[in-house]
C-alpha cells in the first residue's frame, strides 16, 4: 500500500471500539423486558390523590418485585438485580416506550435511601429497610434543603443535639416531595456548628410518624402540592438511625451520587423525546398561529421543531455518553452537570415552543392542548431544582474546565 501508518497498521478490535450496538445477550434481555412490561404495565391512570397514588405506586413496585425487576441497579447481595449500566439503559428505554408510570412515591427510597444504606448503612439498617423498599412497602422522602440552604446546601441549620441514645432535632426542611405519606426520611442535620460548614452534618433515618413533625404542603406554580415544608420540634430519633458516623453526613450524602452513573437522565430524555413527537404531530394538525396552512408549514415553527429534534437526539447521545463514562468511572464526574444543564434549558425551549403552537388553547388548561400549559410551568423545575442552571454552569466552569474558583464560596 505504500502508506506508513503512525500506529502499528492495525485498528483496534471491534469489541473495544466506540460502539452503538447491543450484544446478543442484551438484545434478548430487551425482548424479555419488553414482553414483561407489555403484560404487567398498569393499564389504569395513576391517581392524582396522594394516598391513592401511594397505594398505586406501592402496588406497581410490588408487581415489579415479584417479576424480578426490583432494584435493577442494586447489587445482588442487597436484594437487587445488579444489572450493568447498559442493562439499566435498556430497561429504562423499554420502560419509557411502554408508557409505564413513574416510580413516584418509590423514587427516593429506590434511588437515594436504599443506595445510601447499601453504601454506608450497617447490617441492621440494611436488613430492616432494604427488603421493605424493594417490595414497595415503605415510602421515603428527602430532608436535605432548607429555606436558607438551597444551592448552598452545606449551610443547613436544622439542629440535632445528642441526648442519651437519641438525637433531638429542631428546625425546618423544604421541598420535601411525598412528605405527607412517607414512612421514612433521609435527613441531614447539623450536629456540630463549630467547624467548617461541610463538617458537623449527620445523615439520619427519620421516622416520619415521630412526634413533633409537622408537614405543610407547598402549592407550586403548576397548582399541585408536590412539595412540602417539614417542621421539627424536638423530634427524637434513635442514634441507631444514624447512617455512617455522626458528623460524617456530608460524605454519606455524596455516596448516593456514586450510585447513579449516568442513568438518571434516561427517563427525562425519553419523556422529552416523546413530548417532541407529540408536538410534531400537533404542529402538523393545527392551524398556523398566523397566515394560512398548518403550524408545521410555518418555516419558523418547523425549523424550531427541527432544531429541538436535533437537540433531543443529542441529549440521547449525551446520555449514552454519560453511561459510557459511568462504565469506566465508579464515581460520576462533574460532567453530569453538563447533561443536566443541557436537558433543563432544552426542556424549557421545547415547552416555550409548544405555547407558541397551541396558540388558541393557551388560556385554558382544560382545553384540547391545555396540558402543555402545565408542562411549560413544570419545566422550570429543571433549571431550578437539584442545582440551578447557574450552579451547574459554575460546576462545569470550575470542575470540568478548571477555571478559578470564586474565593468567597469556600
Amino acid at each position: 500500500m505504500g502508506h506508513k501508518f503512525p500506529w502499528d497498521g492495525r485498528l483496534p478490535e471491534k469489541e473495544v471500539r466506540v460502539d452503538l450496538s447491543f450484544t446478543q445477550e442484551q438484545l434478548m434481555f430487551r425482548d424479555e423486558v419488553r414482553s414483561w412490561l407489555a403484560d404487567y404495565t398498569p393499564r389504569e391512570k395513576r391517581p392524582s390523590d396522594g394516598a391513592a397514588a401511594r397505594a398505586f405506586d406501592s402496588a406497581w413496585q410490588l408487581t415489579q418485585y415479584e417479576g424480578g425487576w426490583a432494584g435493577l441497579a442494586w447489587p445482588e447481595e442487597a436484594g437487587g438485580r445488579g444489572l450493568s449500566l447498559i442493562h439499566q439503559l435498556i430497561w429504562h428505554e423499554e420502560y419509557g416506550r411502554a408508557g409505564a408510570p413513574p416510580p413516584g412515591f418509590m423514587f427516593i427510597a429506590l434511588n437515594h435511601g436504599g443506595p445510601t444504606l447499601i453504601a454506608k448503612g450497617n447490617a441492621a439498617q440494611k436488613a430492616f429497610h432494604l427488603p421493605r423498599i424493594l417490595r414497595g412497602e415503605s415510602v421515603w422522602c428527602q430532608g436535605f434543603s432548607e429555606p436558607g440552604a438551597g444551592s448552598d446546601l452545606a449551610s443547613l441549620k436544622t439542629r440535632a443535639v445528642i441526648e442519651g441514645d437519641e438525637l433531638v432535632v429542631t428546625g425546618q426542611k423544604i421541598w420535601t416531595s411525598y412528605a405527607a405519606h412517607a414512612d421514612y426520611q433521609e435527613l441531614l442535620v447539623r450536629t456540630d456548628a463549630s467547624g467548617p460548614k461541610q463538617a458537623g452534618i449527620t445523615w439520619v433515618i427519620c421516622d416520619m410518624r415521630s412526634p413533633g413533625i409537622t408537614v405543610r404542603p407547598i402549592r407550586t406554580i403548576n397548582n399541585d402540592y408536590h412539595f412540602n415544608e417539614v417542621f421539627y420540634d424536638s423530634v427524637r430519633i434513635p442514634l441507631a438511625n444514624v447512617v455512617g458516623e455522626v458528623n460524617d453526613g456530608w460524605a454519606v450524602a455524596q455516596a448516593t451520587l456514586a450510585f447513579e452513573r449516568g442513568t438518571a437522565m434516561i427517563p427525562h430524555q425519553m419523556a422529552l423525546s416523546r413530548e417532541l413527537d407529540e408536538l410534531t404531530a400537533l404542529a402538523k394538525s393545527i392551524p398556523a398561529p398566523s397566515g394560512s396552512g398548518t403550524a408545521w408549514e410555518r418555516d419558523d415553527i418547523r425549523t424550531r421543531i427541527a432544531t429541538a429534534r436535533a437537540e433531543v437526539y443529542a441529549l440521547k447521545a449525551m446520555t449514552y455518553g454519560a453511561i459510557s463514562r459511568g462504565q469506566r468511572d465508579n464515581v460520576p464526574g462533574a460532567e453530569g452537570a453538563i447533561v443536566a444543564l443541557y436537558h433543563g434549558e432544552l426542556a424549557q425551549r421545547v415547552q416555550r415552543l409548544a405555547l407558541d403552537i397551541i396558540d388558541d388553547d393557551l388560556l385554558d388548561r382544560d382545553s384540547a392542548r391545555g396540558e402543555w400549559i402545565g408542562r411549560y410551568l413544570d419545566a422550570f423545575k429543571y433549571t431550578i431544582g437539584g442545582g440551578t442552571s447557574q450552579v451547574r454552569r459554575n460546576i462545569i466552569a470550575e470542575r470540568v474546565l478548571g477555571l478559578p474558583r470564586e474565593k468567597a464560596l469556600n
Binding site: 448552598d152 385554558d364 382544560d366
Partner: protein, 324 residues
C-alpha cells in the same frame, strides 16, 4: 418639544395612581383570593376615562398619558376588565355613541373580554362574569358585542388562576355598530404594550428585591454576576419597552405616518420583556419562584394571558413585516 420623560406634574399624577394601587390593590391581594376587579374604584377616581373626550365623561388626555396609567395597571396586575372597559369606551366614541361611552365610564355598562377559541364559533370570555358588553379581540380586529349574545358559558381551568375564564358559544348577533374599530387598533396595541411594560417592570423589581435579600454562600445572590446579568438584561428589556411604548403612543396621537409600525413594535418588545422578565424572576427566586406563594409566576401567567389578546408574536411580526 421632544421629551420622552414625563414632566414633574405628570409624574405626580402617575404617582397618585401608583400609590392608590399599591395601597388598595397590592399584587399580594391575588394570593389572598381577592377576586374584585377594582373597576368600581378606578371608575370612581376617573382613571379609566383619562383619555376619553370630556363630552363622554373623560379627562381628554392623550394616548401617551393613558399608556402611563396602563403601565401602572400592569405593575399592579389590574384585571383585564380595565383594559376592556377603556377600549370599549373609546370604540363607542368612535362609533359616535357617546351615551354608551358615558354609561361604560360611569360603571353602568360593565365590559369583559372575548377571544376566539380553537373551535369555530366558540370563544373564551376573560373577566366577563358581570359583563354587559364584550370587547371581542381577534388578531387585530376589535368589536363590541352584547354579552347576552354569547351563550352556553362553561367555567374553565385557567392558565392565570387570578382571572375568571369561561368558554362559550358565539350567538348569531352581530357587533354593536359598524366599522371604525380599526381606528382604535393603535391605541389597543399601545395600551397593551404599556400593560406588559408594567408587568415586566414589576417582575424585575421583585427579582431585584429578592436578590438583595436572599443569601447563599455567605452573600446576597445579587452579588453574583450570573444573577446580576440576568437582572441587567431584564432592565435593558424594560428600557426598550418603556421608551418604545411612549414613543408609539406619541406617534399615534400625533398622527405620524409610521404610527402603526411603532405601535406594533411597542407591543412586540413589551410582550417579550414581560414574558422573559417574569421567567427570569422565577429563575432568580429559585425554589421559592416555583411556589404559588411567590409573585413571580403571577406576572408570567398574566403576561401570557395578555399576549393572547395581541394574537401572538407570529401574528404581530407578520403585521409589522407587512408594513416593511
Amino acid at each position: 418639544m421632544v421629551d420622552l420623560l414625563p414632566s414633574d406634574e405628570q409624574n405626580a399624577i402617575q404617582q397618585e395612581l401608583v400609590n392608590f394601587l399599591s395601597l388598595e390593590m397590592p399584587v399580594d391581594r391575588l394570593h389572598q383570593g381577592d377576586v374584585t376587579d377594582g373597576i368600581d374604584a378606578l371608575i370612581e377616581l376617573g382613571w379609566l376615562g383619562l383619555a376619553l373626550p370630556e363630552q363622554a365623561g373623560g379627562a381628554g388626555a392623550g394616548l401617551a398619558d393613558e399608556a402611563q396609567a396602563f403601565r401602572a395597571f400592569g405593575e399592579a396586575l389590574v384585571s383585564p376588565a380595565a383594559f376592556a372597559t377603556v377600549l370599549a369606551a373609546h370604540l363607542s366614541v368612535g362609533l359616535g355613541d357617546e351615551g354608551r361611552a358615558r354609561a361604560i365610564l360611569e360603571g353602568d355598562a360593565r365590559v369583559g373580554l372575548a377571544v376566539p377559541a380553537a373551535k369555530a364559533g366558540e370563544c373564551y370570555l376573560i373577566a366577563a362574569q358581570q359583563a354587559d358588553l364584550l370587547l371581542m379581540v381577534d388578531k387585530g380586529c376589535l368589536a363590541l358585542i352584547p354579552a347576552p349574545d354569547v351563550v352556553d358559558r362553561v367555567a374553565c381551568d385557567p392558565l392565570d388562576g387570578t382571572v375568571d375564564l369561561q368558554r362559550a358559544v358565539l350567538g348569531s348577533g352581530g357587533p354593536v355598530g359598524e366599522g371604525l374599530a380599526e381606528a382604535e387598533y393603535d391605541r389597543f396595541l399601545v395600551l397593551l404594550a404599556a400593560y406588559q411594560l408594567g408587568v415586566a417592570e414589576a417582575a424585575l423589581r421583585t427579582a431585584v428585591e429578592y436578590s438583595k435579600l436572599r443569601e447563599q454562600f455567605g452573600r446576597p445572590i445579587g452579588a453574583f454576576q450570573s444573577i446580576k446579568h440576568l437582572c441587567a438584561d431584564a432592565r435593558m428589556r424594560t428600557e426598550a419597552a418603556q421608551f418604545q411604548t411612549i414613543y408609539a403612543g406619541l406617534a399615534s396621537q400625533d398622527g405620524h405616518e409610521d404610527a402603526r409600525a411603532q405601535a406594533l413594535s411597542a407591543l412586540i418588545v413589551a410582550e417579550e420583556a414581560a414574558i422573559l422578565n417574569a421567567e427570569a424572576a422565577i429563575q432568580i427566586h429559585g425554589g421559592m419562584g416555583f411556589t404559588d406563594e411567590c409573585t413571580a409566576h403571577l406576572f408570567l401567567k398574566r403576561a401570557r394571558l395578555m399576549s393572547r389578546l395581541g394574537g401572538g408574536r407570529a401574528c404581530l411580526l407578520d403585521k409589522l413585516a407587512a408594513l416593511s
